[in-house]
């Protein structure tokens, strides 16, 4: 049986579906008996999602947008 450490090392590839089926099966076998790893996998996935949702929406503030527009207009005519 593989241990938690090995599972966590392979987590990235596991979630991307890039492990070979045999290794994937042994990970799943481990998870079935290991609540701490299940919690780890769930929170690992949540972490990515939370960070993405928080950071991806860096909209350009309107003031900056209009300054950038001025800048572009100035340069395209030179």
């Amino acid at each position: 049986m593989i241990c938690c450490k090995e599972c966590i090392e392979l987590l990235h590839d596991y979630l991307d579906g890039e492990l070979n089926p045999e290794i994937e099966a042994s990970l799943e076998e481990h998870f079935a008996d290991c609540p701490p790893c299940i919690a780890f996998v769930n929170t690992y996935k949540s972490t990515t999602r939370l960070c993405k949702d928080t950071l991806k929406s860096n909209d350009i503030p309107d003031a900056v947008k209009s300054r950038l527009k001025e800048f572009v207009d100035k340069n395209k005519n030179t």
């Binding site: 966590i8 990235h12 701490p36 929170t43 949540s46 990515t48 939370l50 949702d53 950038l68 207009d73």
Partner: protein
């Protein structure tokens, strides 16, 4: 910028780049519209400062404008834009006094000799929804990302936040695919631990009420 079809986007981008290489200045404005949000957003995630990000965006647009015709086309145009944006953002950071970043190894999971997890792992993944738009939560998440060492941070932002492919990130940073994956994994482990401290504590507080 209402494009949605990626192949169409790519075709439009290729045409704009061709025009730019030919010195066609109308395309500059269109490229600026196409890229300025990406440039600003990436820069803001690295510098966490609106003025710096505005400067970076202008600098990058100026480089596109002045040197766009010299673009060789060896790698994707967008990779080139990302690379210039990273360099300009790092220049901004260099001139600023920064808090030393935390050692990532201190925050990686710990195991006993048999390779089993030692800490008690709480599953807080279900209790985060209501907190997501909370200002405190946003701050905690931003701070955690800011604390990542540069090498891991840039991979995390490009791959998980901007949503670029592993290959593309490798191309931009000139890293192998295994190197991209390993840095991304370390970043996620570090952030998971940071968020676990926050959400785990929150969950305990709520349950003990």
């Amino acid at each position: 910028m209402g494009f949605s079809d990626p192949t169409k986007d790519k075709a439009i981008e290729e045409q704009l780049v061709k025009d730019l290489q030919a010195g066609e200045m109308r395309s500059f404005e269109q490229l600026a519209n196409l890229y300025q949000k990406k440039i600003y957003s990436l820069s803001f995630n690295l510098t966490r400062n609106a003025t710096d990000s505005q400067d970076v965006t202008q600098e990058v647009l100026l480089i596109l404008f002045r040197k766009g015709h010299t673009f060789q086309g060896k790698s994707a145009f967008s990779s080139w834009v990302y690379r210039i944006t990273l360099n300009a953002s790092y220049m901004k950071l260099r001139s600023r006094k920064r808090e030393p970043s935390v050692s990532i190894d201190d925050l990686l999971p710990s195991f006993n000799k048999a390779g089993f997890q030692q800490e008690k792992i709480q599953d807080w993944s279900e209790s985060t929804e209501s907190l997501l738009f909370d200002n405190e939560t946003r701050e905690v998440i931003q701070k955690a990302v800011d604390l990542l060492p540069d090498k891991e941070k840039v991979v995390f932002i490009l791959r998980d936040v901007e949503g670029l492919s592993t290959e593309k990130v490798g191309n931009i940073l000139e890293l192998t695919i295994p190197a991209v994956k390993s840095r991304l994994h370390r970043a996620r482990l570090f952030l998971r631990k940071k968020l676990a401290n926050y959400f785990g504590e929150y969950k305990t507080r709520k349950e003990s009420k």
